[in-house]
């Protein structure tokens, strides 16, 4: 009998530990992953959207995944971290569309390749995935900086044919069902920056859109102005505008069937 009480006491104290720190309960397990990363040499670039327009942004050298995270990659993350499966995920961290096209917790959609980019994942999920493989999400600036490169140069933003390529990529259908790395890589050896999926960035919620900016202490009218006034000098703004508008409209628990992610890493780690 005493034994039972001791046991009960013990189990109580364990519960209260759990209650104190939910992160222990949802402890993230490390997952090994062999996705190739590419070193992106730091530099400066001119931000071209919104109130940052014309601002020179400095980028430190970093590593970026050479392609978006795939369904297969994500499945191995789920196997190690079942708290992120569609049946177990906390509503705080993902809306009801989370992995909606997956047949079950561990079954990727039938008509989609394991090597296609994972989609219908929230920002929280993407961030935890990145953490589980010892990486992080890239910032908007890191992503945009890398995306300036065409096949042969680091910065192709002055080339009209590059803008044309981007806009055409954005019009393709069912991009999210393609297999990664089927297109040619850019100057750095990075694939699928365009024409596959939209990608989460760490600080996507730094983009403030018009609708609410009326209420914000710094308005961001120029974001829309830039979009409305498509001047021939900078049609590329239009493509950038599309990306920024999407980022500005997202919430971190949103899951969309054409929104995936790739990971980044600091140089010194």
């Amino acid at each position: 009998m005493f034994f039972a009480i001791v046991l009960a006491l013990f189990s109580c104290s364990r519960h209260s530990v759990h209650e104190k720190s939910p992160d222990i309960q949802n402890h993230l397990k490390y997952v090994s992953n062999s996705k190739k990363m590419v070193k992106i040499d730091g530099g400066i670039y001119e931000a071209f959207i919104g109130k940052d327009s014309g601002k020179i942004v400095k980028i430190e050298t970093f590593y970026l995944d050479d392609s978006p995270v795939t369904n297969a990659d994500y499945l191995s993350f789920l196997k190690a971290n079942p708290q992120w499966t569609k049946s177990k995920v906390k509503r705080l961290y993902a809306d009801s569309s989370y992995l909606r096209h997956w047949k079950s917790d561990f079954e990727i959609p039938e008509n989609v390749s394991p090597d296609a980019p994972v989609t219908n994942v929230s920002w929280y999920a993407a961030k935890e995935y990145a953490k589980s493989v010892g990486k992080r999400l890239p910032t908007i600036d890191e992503w945009e900086f890398t995306a300036l490169a065409d096949r042969n140069s680091k910065n192709a933003s002055g080339k009209p044919e590059f803008t044309d390529f981007i806009l055409k990529s954005y019009q393709k259908k069912d991009k999210n069902k393609q297999i990664i790395k089927k297109d040619l890589p850019n100057y750095y050896g990075v694939y699928n920056m365009y024409g596959m999926v939209w990608e989460w960035t760490f600080d996507f919620n730094s983009v403030m859109m018009s609708g609410e900016s009326r209420k914000d202490n710094t308005t961001n009218e120029s974001l829309f102005c830039a979009g409305a006034a498509i001047t021939s000098s900078d049609l590329r703004n239009y493509a950038g505008f599309v990306r920024y508008a999407l980022r500005g409209s997202l919430k971190a628990d949103y899951c969309l069937n054409n929104l995936g992610f790739r990971c980044a890493k600091n140089l010194n780690k």
């Binding site: 009998m1 005493f2 039972a4 009480i5 009960a8 006491l9 189990s11 109580c12 519960h15 209260s16 209650e19 104190k20 720190s21 939910p22 992160d23 222990i24 949802n26 109130k51 906390k90 509503r91 705080l92 961290y93 920002w123 929280y124 961030k127 992080r136 760490f202 600080d203 919620n205 730094s206 983009v207 403030m208 609410e212 009326r214 209420k215 914000d216 202490n217 710094t218 919430k251 971190a252």
Partner: protein
């Protein structure tokens, strides 16, 4: 003696099951990040369990919207009236954790005459700050080393940590927010 033991163990089991009470899947108590308070002590959101939580995100060196946001929080507190500190917590969350050290946060509370019984100022790292901003639907961006642009949102959380009400923008909805807080206090 045996009966007593049974009673005791029944009591234990009861107290256990109470502790095991599930945290709602959309509760802010699920957030595991650890925050530093103005007194240097650590806190997590689960520690607010049982209290109505009123939050906003600011940074102390802000000269424009933040003083007004803080003033609105105070107005809301006045409107709500005297409540035991056991039942409510007004929390300021720093979006500039590098500048807002415990000393700075403590000084800020003092300057604005915010009683540390009901008021708290917390900070964490960039990662956890980005996450909590997302949970509270707050957007922010560093526009210079000392300036951030950010949404002006005051959130009210129930005693279970679920979002009860959000007030967006300045100069509005003070009464409505206070009313919602009173309602949550009754629950």
């Amino acid at each position: 003696m045996k009966r007593l033991l049974y009673l005791l163990s029944a009591f234990l089991i009861l107290s256990c099951s109470k502790k095991e009470e599930m945290i709602s899947p959309d509760s802010i108590y699920n957030v595991g990040s650890v925050w530093e308070k103005q007194d240097g002590n650590k806190i997590s959101f689960i520690d607010f369990k049982g209290k109505v939580l009123v939050t906003t995100m600011i940074f102390t060196s802000c000269k424009t919207a933040c003083p007004r946001l803080t003033a609105e929080m105070k107005k809301i507190e006045n409107e709500v009236g005297k409540v035991s500190p056991d039942n409510i917590e007004y929390v300021l969350i720093s979006i500039d954790p590098e500048t807002d050290t415990p000393e700075v946060m403590k000084a800020y509370l003092k300057t604005h005459q915010l009683d540390e019984k009901e008021w708290m100022f917390i900070r964490s790292n960039e990662n956890d700050t980005r996450e909590i901003a997302n949970i509270m639907a707050v957007k922010y961006k560093e526009i210079s080393p000392i300036e951030f642009s950010h949404s002006n949102i005051i959130s009210v959380y129930s005693k279970n940590g679920t979002l009860a009400y959000q007030k967006e923008g300045l100069d509005n909805d003070i009464q409505r927010t206070a009313k919602e807080i009173k309602k949550q206090l009754e629950l």
